[in-house]
Symmetry: C2
Subunit: 122 residues, 2 copies
């Protein structure tokens, strides 16, 4: 598929897709004879995974590292697993922290609610 369709399927702008290729997050993108990119389902699958890593706060540089490992073949399976496990641990910790923040915000909102009901600030 062309960059337009790939862009609309992934929600990533064509500009950003080219940028991702330039910095090495996307590799071996097939080209048509006219030089246009021709993305595959496999590319879609990889990009979806990249988005997941990115959305959970992994910097592009570390995703790049993962892409490197992937490129090196099955001898790096264990290292990729370690990388993902470390990331999952961070994510779990971050979720706990965000939950604490949310609880605390909800407490504050409850204070606002009762302050407004009583017509003044606590």
């Amino acid at each position: 598929m062309n960059i337009r369709e790939f862009s609309s399927r992934t929600g990533i702008s064509a500009h950003t897709l080219r940028y991702y290729e330039k910095i090495g997050l996307l590799r071996h993108i097939h080209r048509l004879p006219n030089g246009h990119r021709d993305f595959t389902e496999k590319d879609l699958h990889w990009v979806t995974f990249v988005q997941r890593l990115k959305d959970t706060g992994m910097p592009l540089e570390q995703i790049h590292r993962y892409a490197d490992l992937r490129e090196m073949g099955d001898t790096t399976l264990a290292e990729r697993q370690r990388l993902l496990e470390a990331h999952a641990r961070n994510l779990r910790e971050s979720l706990r922290q965000q939950q604490r923040h949310l609880d605390s915000l909800e407490d504050k909102i409850a204070l606002y609610r009762s302050a407004i009901k009583r017509g003044r600030f606590p």
Copy 2:
């Protein structure tokens, strides 16, 4: 307390604290006769709240807006409440999304685990 102690109590660098004052996140910071900032417990409380908003993804500009409302007194209570409630809703949604991402990552890690056990990739 001086900027050094305030910095170490909040975990925010002195540089950043001055920056926060410059952009209006910190206001009415008391000064000693020599011009040095003299932070109070109230400042600490406010900064802690600002950190919570920031850590849960609120842009500084919106925190600034909240600071404006706060400055305007009790007539803005309802609006501040709405602002916090909208933020809490976003945060709950983001937590759900992050949890889905985590589940998906854990699935992938499980695949790695079994691939490594079998000595090859799925």
